[in-house]
Symmetry: C2
Subunit: 215 residues, 2 copies
């Protein structure tokens, strides 16, 4: 089945739906309507209906969605039935912050290991080891890693990216503030934390401008 492309905004709401549906399912409620879901989660009805239609098509008239089917569809979208293993390179503050972040598994991804070339950080972090780069390629091949997260500085990002591609990784999430050269077919996401703040600031400045105009 060809699924319509799911946006980040919809993906972001799926764990919330899932948690609620699991509650519902535990109470042996076989059907659930989008109206009920919207009400319980304080979301708009139209939004809930749109979100669920992307994930699971339309519900049955008057009955709504079969709870079990909806749970399965959401889990499949999030890839929760089989977590995708990922690795992270660059165990500085940002890298460690991501390692500590508890939400990734809810979204279907498990960071299996972190790597760094700095000998000083090669200690155990929580249950995760920070491994030396010399073990990178073998680790990725052994665990069939497909997702690589780059949290090194601008200067080393391209080299790390090249190593990832040479180790079988096909999807890259880059936090380094620089452009990377990539062959076609590689899935790529550039993260720019500053843009969110810029967006908030832009709205704030807009508000100020309007207040001035009103005076």
């Amino acid at each position: 089945m060809e699924k319509s492309k799911i946006t980040k905004a919809v993906l972001g709401r799926l764990p919330q739906y899932l948690a609620f549906l699991e509650d519902v399912s535990a109470q042996d409620i076989p059907f659930i309507s989008s109206t009920k879901i919207a009400k319980e989660l304080s979301l708009g009805e139209v939004q809930v209906r749109k979100d669920l239609s992307v994930v699971c098509g339309k519900g049955k008239p008057k009955l709504g969605y079969r709870t079990g089917d909806l749970i399965k569809s959401i889990e499949s979208c999030l890839g929760q039935s089989k977590l995708t293993p990922a690795v992270l390179v660059g165990a500085g503050k940002l890298g460690k912050a991501l390692l500590e972040y508890d939400e990734f598994e809810k979204y279907g991804v498990q960071i299996m290991a972190a790597f760094d070339c700095n000998e000083q950080v090669l200690k155990i972090h929580r249950s995760l080891e920070i491994l030396p780069m010399s073990q990178f390629q073998e680790f990725c091949r052994t665990h069939d890693i497909k997702i690589g997260i780059i949290t090194v500085g601008e200067g080393s990002a391209q080299a790390v990216c090249d190593q990832m591609l040479a180790s079988g990784i096909t999807a890259i999430w880059n936090f380094a503030p620089c452009k990377l050269r990539l062959p076609e077919g590689v899935l790529f996401l550039q993260e720019n934390l500053a843009v969110s703040l810029a967006y908030l600031n832009n709205q704030l400045l807009d508000q100020k401008r309007k207040e001035k105009e009103e005076i």
Copy 2:
């Protein structure tokens, strides 16, 4: 002048335009065309024209944009002429990673101070002091802080948010994975780092599904 709302994607590209235009301006080139900008920055011409029209309207036929005007407009959008002061609460790994992030000032925001209730982290971090929460309200009032960044855990996020609002902050960027109760009129952005990774994973799973179907 009422500006059309600038999207995050456009904002994200503005510093790149600005850096290039400052080069152009240093060479005393009075006009620049969107074609030339697109070529130099390896961007699509249509995209560049759309981006710049949001920021600065249309250029002059055959001449393009007046370099100086374009620079001023972009700086104004980014709020670079006067940096907006922000504070951060929660100086754990994520908080410190944000404090180390060099890109915020390019986007018009300066993190003036970080606060934490944990006595152990109250040391100097780079040129920034990590201050105790007892000084929070006074600091915000003195420096007329309007933007607050929440990087504490789920358990303390609402309390921190309430303190921010009580201290005159009107725009909040929340990294804690929880909903916050906010009065109307507060600008708010929820950051969910996991969603980017979920999006990449979803595309990866889609690719796998398609490969299977082709076999």
